[in-house]
Point group: C2
Chain length 349, copies 2
């Protein structure tokens, strides 16, 4: 399943693994066999699968995958998914975060997803006037939840009706693999990966956001001195502007930048003197509005130690915060500080 040399495994029960930087850098579309996995329970056994749509709808649905594929038009989107814990290792280096995986830059990846539009499914179910949120529940039971429960989450109905939100049965042109959510997963471009619920079995139209553990207690940004509790902190949803460095040599630096939400990357700057001066990086292949941009910048670094800093800018002309330490939070989410790297170039002999 995995090209094992190209992933870093953070856990086996449940399985969690991130893509190594060199594998991410290889292509703007991440290979399925190295695509990051953030699971909260065991991969459910394949079996009789149905999708139920209920809650605040005029017409509850109970669909087979065949019905879904035959009844609704098929769409494709190139979208970056990103775990809210991506780059947590940088925060752990400041102060330990017990019980949370030390994700590096690879808890993110970009794939082309194929499936039906969630909006088309909702149109069949006809949301009632009071519906405001769309909840998703997977088949995976998570023993780490309190109390143990299936993984779930919700997004606002307004987002759910947008054309980029898919119920996907294929990834990079192949049937979805079990570890990535087969037979069907949600793909919510611009949102944290936790909302792209895998092994989707139930959609619930709601008047309020999802009340389950994975939205009410975790995947929330706490203040530095906060404690996880139902409703504490701000719920995460849109991905925040972020970037990281994937490779550095004396002659070139490469990485990715992702704007998140409905935004796109407008510029990436690189400094090789710790932020004193900046040059613009070249933005590489544009896969459309829902995908990251890979970037590169030539360097010509002489002997000595060089401090590289990168800052990405989004379509609101906002850029990343500088100070990683001040982003520390008890669950280690949303480290979107400007990435840094130190490169020592030896004297030629």
């Amino acid at each position: 399943m995995f090209g094992k040399r190209d992933v870093i495994v953070h856990g086996t029960d449940p399985f969690n693994a991130e893509t190594k930087p060199e594998a991410l850098a290889a292509s703007p579309v991440t290979s399925t066999d190295v695509f990051y996995v953030r699971n909260h329970g065991a991969v459910p056994e394949a079996g009789d699968w149905r999708l139920r749509v209920g809650g605040a709808v005029e017409r509850p649905l109970d669909l087979s995958l065949a019905t879904l594929r035959e009844a609704l038009p098929q769409h494709q989107v190139a979208a970056t998914l990103q775990c809210a814990g991506n780059r947590r290792a940088g925060l752990i280096a400041i102060r330990d975060i017990p019980g949370e995986a030390p994700w590096g830059p690879g808890a993110t990846g970009t794939a082309t997803w194929t499936g039906a539009r969630l909006a088309d499914v909702l149109a069949l179910a006809r949301p009632r006037a009071e519906a405001r949120h769309v909840g998703f529940e997977g088949a995976d039971l998570s023993p780490e939840a309190k109390p143990p429960q299936r993984f779930g989450g919700s997004i606002p109905l307004d987002k759910a009706c947008r054309p980029e939100v898919l119920l996907a049965w294929a990834m990079n042109g192949e049937p979805l693999e079990p570890v990535h959510g087969a037979p069907l997963r949600v793909v919510v471009p611009g949102y944290i990966g936790a909302r792209s619920v895998k092994w989707l079995e139930r959609i619930e139209l709601r008047t309020t956001p999802w009340r389950g553990y994975f939205q009410e207690v975790v995947y929330r940004l706490l203040p530095e001195d906060g404690t996880p509790a139902p409703g504490a902190g701000m719920p995460l949803g849109l991905v925040a502007l972020n970037a990281d460095i994937l490779s550095v040599t004396p002659t070139e630096v490469r990485g990715y930048a992702f704007a998140g939400g409905e935004r796109f990357i407008t510029r990436v700057d690189v400094s090789s003197d710790g932020g004193a001066s900046w040059r613009q990086a070249e933005l590489l292949e544009d896969l459309g509005p829902w995908a990251w941009r890979h970037w590169r910048a030539p360097l010509s670094l002489g002997p000595g130690e060089h401090e590289l800093v990168v800052r990405a800018w989004d379509s609101s002309a906002a850029t990343q915060p500088e100070d990683e330490a001040s982003l520390w939070n008890p669950k280690g989410y949303v480290n979107n500080a400007r990435p840094r790297a130190t490169l020592k170039v030896p004297q030629r002999t």
Copy 2:
């Protein structure tokens, strides 16, 4: 027209003025008589006014204001407008920006706007399939443009069709005043003020963004060493997350925070030790998704010098950059650094 004690006039020909901090702090809805004015030409003479809608439409329109008001439902939105040059003074303090007004924190304000939905007008005109942008042209001739031209700009058609975008004839419940764009102006919530074109006379459906001076040359973010030129730098559009301090005493600090774009403010933190430690401010009245949040935090500052820093967070869990100096750009736009203030508390005698 203006409560003169409460505004700072930056120019009289054309008229440009910002609201003083104490007037902004007085209410989350800014009084019309002190609301900031950023004009690029003289206020046009009142006269026979018509609104023409053309370009990539099936049915060009030529409407009187009476027709607009009679034909279309009236809507209201509470929206913050913000000049892209708001807080430029902080950048000028780092390095001079000749020819640009030294706006403080008051090139922004919030009003309730009343008018017709732009989407309803567009539905009457029926945009053709190739339309992607909606251009606006005012009646005001700007001698500072090269070549001299009417003020104008465009927004994406997708945004133009959203319900919050109005063609407004009233502000804070009163007929629009001449200096604010009477008889009709655009109000584009979440976008830089320059897109909320005043004295609107012409709407043009387009396949490309507006090519006029005020979008092709200015209102673009240049790199630090850039030079204004057609197409240089990134076009501004969505307002970037921002905040400023409006009043400080030894017992309380108050200010505003505005997320911009489609986002909202989720948290504001205040530090009274230069950023070493933070406490959450109280978010005050919520005027809806398109308005800023005023905030306050109690202080209890003893004798000595105190360095206050504020950081706002938006609904993507992104916060503001720290370093104002690194945001310097040749036109002085988008200063969204964390605001700072120094307060000296004297020894009691």
